[in-house]
């Protein structure tokens, strides 16, 4: 297994861990952090491909993903704050109003 394959395995493992975190955890903030983990896995795979192919496009896309992730967090956290202020809890199960 050469360097590229090992790094891709790591990136996919991080992505799956992030996905597991979003599905499995109750706390809204930890779910957000798992989403960031997923984004980091994707970034790692992009940088690995950019390194392997010698193409600068990978690095550019990584930079754009940084910007998008920052913008996303800047909105997601205030939304979580407002929700938590209404229900006084961060438990995701308390927001099951649309269920059933």
């Amino acid at each position: 297994m050469d360097k590229t394959q090992a790094l891709l395995v790591l990136a996919l493992a991080l992505f799956s861990l992030g996905l597991a975190g979003v599905v499995v955890r109750r706390n809204l903030l930890v779910m957000l952090m798992s989403m960031e983990l997923m984004l980091n896995g994707v970034n790692l795979s992009l940088v690995t491909f950019a390194n392997q192919m010698g193409a600068a496009e990978g690095a550019v896309l990584v930079f754009l993903i940084f910007v998008v992730a920052a913008a996303e967090i800047a909105i997601a956290i205030p939304i979580v704050l407002l929700l938590a202020r209404r229900r006084h809890t961060l438990d995701a199960d308390a927001y099951a109003d649309l269920k059933g």
Binding site: L7, L10, G54
Partner: protein, 174 residues
């Protein structure tokens, strides 16, 4: 000693990779959100180290600067402000624990089998190398200027949305 120096890159890559993975596991598993945040910060810094080893130092700098220096600061700020006696701490996992874990494992296994089937890959079309900031900047502003402008519009939208959220928050309890 010379073996250590000759294979230093591989050893460091292995160490950083295993530590990043351990941090990722800790993010999903730890009960307290602040500790999960610290684990995520350590994962991000180790990933920055991996980017540095791959030769893209400016991406490593941006990773630490944007992710750790802005995104995680915001996350730590919010965890500091919210009530620590939240019941979500006591019940850590949702009812979807086993199906969720099984799906994630299956996804990981499928994807990893597709990427690293056990046979050596064909030779890469260009030799693996890192980039200098000059190359990146030229590519960024010559070919991808439209993406750059669109992301600045996205950031403007994020700023306006954040101000709107503050207005709503003030209206709620004001």
């Amino acid at each position: 000693m010379t073996w250590l120096l000759a294979n230093l890159e591989t050893i460091l890559l292995a160490v950083f990779g295993v530590s990043a993975l351990a941090g990722g596991v800790l993010v999903v598993v730890l009960r307290q959100p602040m500790r999960a945040a610290m684990a995520l910060i350590s994962t991000m810094i180790f990933l920055g180290g991996i980017y540095g080893l791959l030769g893209v130092h400016f991406i490593a700098a941006f990773q630490v600067l944007i992710y750790v220096g802005a995104v995680m600061v915001f996350m730590v700020y919010v965890i500091m402000l919210l009530d620590p006696r939240d019941p979500a701490f006591r019940r850590r996992f949702s009812p979807l624990l086993f199906p969720g874990a099984a799906v994630a494992l299956g996804l990981a296994a499928t994807l990893i089998r597709g990427v690293a089937p056990g046979t050596a890959p064909a030779a890469a079309p260009a030799p693996a190398r890192g980039f200098s900031l000059a190359e990146f900047a030229t590519a960024f502003l010559n070919q991808y200027w439209l993406h750059f402008e669109l992301t600045s519009v996205l950031l403007l939208a994020a700023v306006i949305a954040a101000i709107a959220v503050i207005r709503v928050a003030r209206g709620d309890h004001g």
